[in-house]
Amino acid sequence: MIRLQNIKKVYRTDTVETLAINGINLDIAKGEFLSIMGPSGCGKSTLLNIMGLLDEPSKGNIQIDSQDISSYSDQKLAKFRNEKLGFIFQSYHLINDLQVLDNVELPLLYRNSSAKERKRLATEALEKVGLSNRLKHFPTQLSGGQRQRVAIARAIVGNPQIILADEPTGNLDSAMGNEIMDILINLNKNEGTTIVMVTHDENMAHKTHRLVRLFDGSQVQ
């Protein structure tokens, strides 16, 4: 599903050059639930962003769903992200000015779907994460766990084949973290969604199919 070949990423600032990713090769199969672990600053987020086409590698080749996306224009990349990928972030990144329902509808705004259809799909997605009674709330009126569930609803509303989650339980206590984890596991089991998750929690990582450990931009396991 996702194939990374010899990916390197260098960050250049005025004074220093940071090698964030140093030659990573990774094949992730369709329907796989993969977790990535490693100390802070080892390049986990960078790697996930590259997989999510949010950042370009300095070197190397990415294929997603057997498509070589290196030559894609901004417009084409946007469409690709919209249809194939769903993101979950550690700090949720909900739009506080919009109600829960509008937040979840967001990915559907960028494809051809009617307002009615958008509403139906968003309500369905919120039902899956157990939040169908909070449609008209604003994000600031919800707890951390509820916000992350809204973010998951937003990630799955467009029915993407891949979900990329960067420390989705990082800001939550263990009970809420487990709830989120259960949702992801069910999603992977029932819908066959490919999931790549960055985590700091060994327990969470052991619930996934495969664990990749990074150290200083390289894969160590």
Binding site: L54, A78, G86, H93, I95, L98, D102, R111
Partner: protein, 411 residues
């Protein structure tokens, strides 16, 4: 999609109430001033009672002598003699309305002084200009030839002098201790129709000064009427040729007088002289002024918008991650900005209506009635679009260039 943009735009506006207030105030205040100015310009420049044949008319309102060697110059209104002796010979002038500049005279009603501005006119004055007679009629050539002391007065003067009397025709009005018999009452003329407004109109032959004195300068001006619109350029050319035959007064080496279309006659008075009608100058200065005036709130808006974008970087990052292209984001932001400017526009229109209502009510300029018409609305619409686009494009471009990863980290 638009509904969603609208939702977020309103939410963003509500969140930053102070900034929103400043932007809306800037936009609506600027628009109000522009709209009232446009309404005023429209009032001044488009044909207005009683000067309704501007397309067929040329205006002669100044006489200028120059001594180019010494740098002397003398400028004044025009003599009656100049019109009767020179201009009346022009074949293309169908009719000519000659009148003197209004002069103040004193009249007393119940021991209270009122000031009456009177004008001397010829008989054709009433044929060229379309005064609306509420009672009576204008004076004719016969009354002029007899130097009859007759007067046409304005509605305002009737009220001030005669009070609520229903019929004043045949009654006498005394100005500067001379009695004139009222033969007509006309509707008030706005002060903006500068050279034609007055409280009382008298035959020029009752004037105490010698209107036949062969001088070029005097207190008169004239509206020259051509038979048709097509004849106007011919008439202007003929006037210019005639000027070459006018003898140059001693001590000077040039003499200028011009028959101008309405707009040029205004610009010549404001920014021109005998040789230059000042049109380019006035138009340039006004355009620069309007641009600068529009630019200030635009820069303010750009500034506010850029700040806003930085605050919204997380939203921008999320939208990009979930499939918004740069182009879509630019579009969204410009739409949002348009919503803001049109909101400002609507407030501006309401404020302008209020301002116009107050200006008309206070009679700031005597008998001027401003109105909000389609021209004014059209220009303010253009100004709104100008605001919205100019102040939206640069911030939108900055926004669309934000790197997603950085945008998401910024929070």
């Amino acid at each position: 999609m638009l509904k969603n943009y609208f939702k977020i735009a309103i939410a963003v506006l509500k969140r930053r109430k102070f900034f929103t207030f400043v932007s809306l105030f800037g936009i609506s205040f600027t628009l109000t001033i522009l709209m009232v100015t446009t309404a005023f310009m429209d009032k001044v420049l488009s044909p207005d009672y009683p000067d309704l044949k501007r397309e067929r008319s040329l205006y002669v309102s100044s006489m200028e002598y120059k001594n180019t060697k010494e740098g002397w110059m003398n400028r004044s209104d025009v003599s009656y003699y100049f019109f009767s002796h020179y201009v009346s010979t022009l074949k293309n002038v169908d009719k000519m309305a000659i009148s003197s500049n209004p002069k103040a005279s004193n009249a007393y009603v119940n021991n209270k002084k009122i000031v009456i501005a009177y004008k001397y006119t010829n008989a054709d004055y009433w044929n060229v200009l379309e005064y609306r007679f509420l009672a009576g009629k204008p004076f004719s050539q016969k009354e002029i030839d007899n130097a009859d002391k007759v007067a046409v007065i304005s509605e305002e003067t009737r009220k001030a002098y005669f009070g609520d009397a229903s019929n004043v025709i045949g009654r006498y009005i005394s100005a500067d201790n001379v009695n004139y018999r009222v033969i007509g009452v006309v509707a008030n003329v706005s002060k903006t129709v500068n050279s034609l407004s007055g409280d009382m109109y008298l035959p020029y032959t009752v004037s105490t000064s010698d209107y036949n004195k062969p001088d070029l300068m005097g207190p008169y001006n004239a509206v020259l009427l051509a038979k048709s619109k097509a004849d106007v350029p011919k008439m202007q050319k003929e006037f210019q040729q005639m000027m070459r035959r006018v003898p140059i007064p001693k001590d000077f080496d040039r003499v200028y007088s011009n028959a101008d279309p309405f707009f040029s006659s205004m610009t010549r008075r404001i920014a021109g002289d005998g040789a230059n009608n000042g049109k380019t100058r006035v138009v340039t200065i006004m355009s620069i002024f309007v641009l600068l005036f529009l630019l200030l709130p635009t820069i303010n808006l750009v500034n506010i918008n850029v700040t806003r974008i930085m605050e919204r970087s997380s939203e921008i990052g999320v939208r990009k991650a979930f499939g918004a292209s740069s182009k879509t984001l630019v579009y969204q932001f410009i739409v949002e900005n348009m919503i803001l400017t049109f909101l400002g526009g609507i407030i501006g229109i309401i404020l302008s209506l209020l301002a116009i209502y107050l200006i008309n009510g206070a009679n700031v300029i005597s008998n001027m009635r401003l109105s909000m018409n389609l021209t004014v609305l059209f220009y303010s619409f253009i100004a709104c679009v100008f605001f919205g686009l100019i102040s939206g494009v640069y911030p939108a471009w900055r926004m669309s260039k934000l790197n997603v990863v950085k945008a998401l980290k910024a929070q």
